[in-house]
Symmetry: C2
Subunit: 195 residues, 2 copies
DNA sequence: CAAGCCCTATCTATCATCAGGTAGGTAATC
DNA sequence: GATTACCTACCTGATGATAGATAGGGCTTG
């Protein structure tokens, strides 16, 4: 199967994602984006009629891509702790990429300044993560760990983990130091918030 | 002692804080701000030569104001759990104010788009919080709770709490629902992250 | 085969609006 | 006169978006 050549639309989305993860939705401009892709800004309107459209598609794709990756982690070969480690590593990797943060977290901060169609996708991103985390929390555990709790409690714990990871990323971002993220996540584990 | 009349500089700072907490530093414009205060935008330059100056003073003042409040909580009359409850309530109150978020958290997200003098103040804000939290964690506890840990471990726990609270606020903000914040914070307490 | 049409994907030029910032002016007060 | 605290007018640069143009490719028709 041949490797698909990235088309212009994909290139736009990829460049936009990187920009939003560092400079926010407010820092995303069609002119800069066009330069990144090697086209002119009016051409972006061909693919995305408005900035809001681009933002919404971007957030939606971000959720789908991440869901795909996370789904692969639940194929039955990994235990709970490893799954959760892989999860926290996703956010770590984003930080490691020029101190970037999660696109969902960024747009959540920018809540009042993004269009409603983007806000909706940000909430969906959160919900996808929490659902996944609840499933991961329900996995069989490695030896000598406590057994998983009931379903509603898992959902709440999942929500708390999701929030805590975003906070860890945010603080590490302000310091420009991924070791801060690592220390915080280790403290979460030590406290039992993350198994 | 007469109540001091808020002067223009104070009014500017107050209005700017509210704007940044909802719309971010990127959403702060001198023209809008001037309207909020009832002056013209050129007048703001009289007090703050540049937007970066305003941003840095704003973040600094935010830290000082919060430090003052938190210091009052450590006057010896409150136990550890109550202090920490008051702490989490600070961020809750911000959410309750038209779904706003902590100015430090907002500017941390906007890290790449704020001037260096603002970034520095954001880090100081975090450090002040973590120092305070470590002191609060070291307070005598109410009956039947575990005794405080050693000093370095307190610092790390304090950092983790600081991060976790910011994440909780961020997620609640995206949902526009303070009950989400409450649920997350309760889960932090249930897990032992927050005593 | 050539011409014409349509579609796709890009472009130039432009618009209206907004931003931070500057220079100079004015009024009130001491 | 000097200082303070405001103002108007303006500058430059940036933004999302629009209208119209163009080139290339594929398909249909005579």
């Amino acid at each position: 199967m041949a490797t698909p050549i990235p088309d212009t639309r994909q290139k736009i989305l990829e460049a936009a994602r990187l920009t939003v993860q560092s400079r926010g939705y407010a820092g995303l401009s069609f002119r800069e984006l066009a330069k990144d892709v090697g086209i002119k800004s009016a051409s972006i309107h061909y693919y995305f009629p408005s900035k809001g459209d681009l933002g919404a598609v971007l957030a939606q794709k971000y959720t789908e891509d991440m869901a795909g990756y996370l789904e692969g982690l639940l194929d039955g070969t990994l235990d709970r702790e490893t799954c959760l480690k892989r999860y926290t590593d996703v956010f770590r990797t984003t930080l490691r990429n020029d101190n970037r943060m999660c696109l969902g977290g960024m747009m959540a901060a920018e809540h009042d300044e993004v269009p409603a169609e983007v806000q909706v996708e940000v909430v969906k991103f959160g919900e996808m993560n929490v659902r996944w985390l609840a499933r991961a929390l329900a996995l069989p555990t490695s030896p000598r760990k406590k057994t998983p709790a009931a379903s509603a409690a898992l959902e709440t714990q999942a929500l708390a983990i999701f929030a805590a990871i975003h906070g860890a990323q945010l603080v590490a971002r302000s310091r420009g130091d991924v070791a801060v993220y690592d220390a915080i996540v280790a403290a979460y584990r030590a406290s039992g918030l993350i198994p």
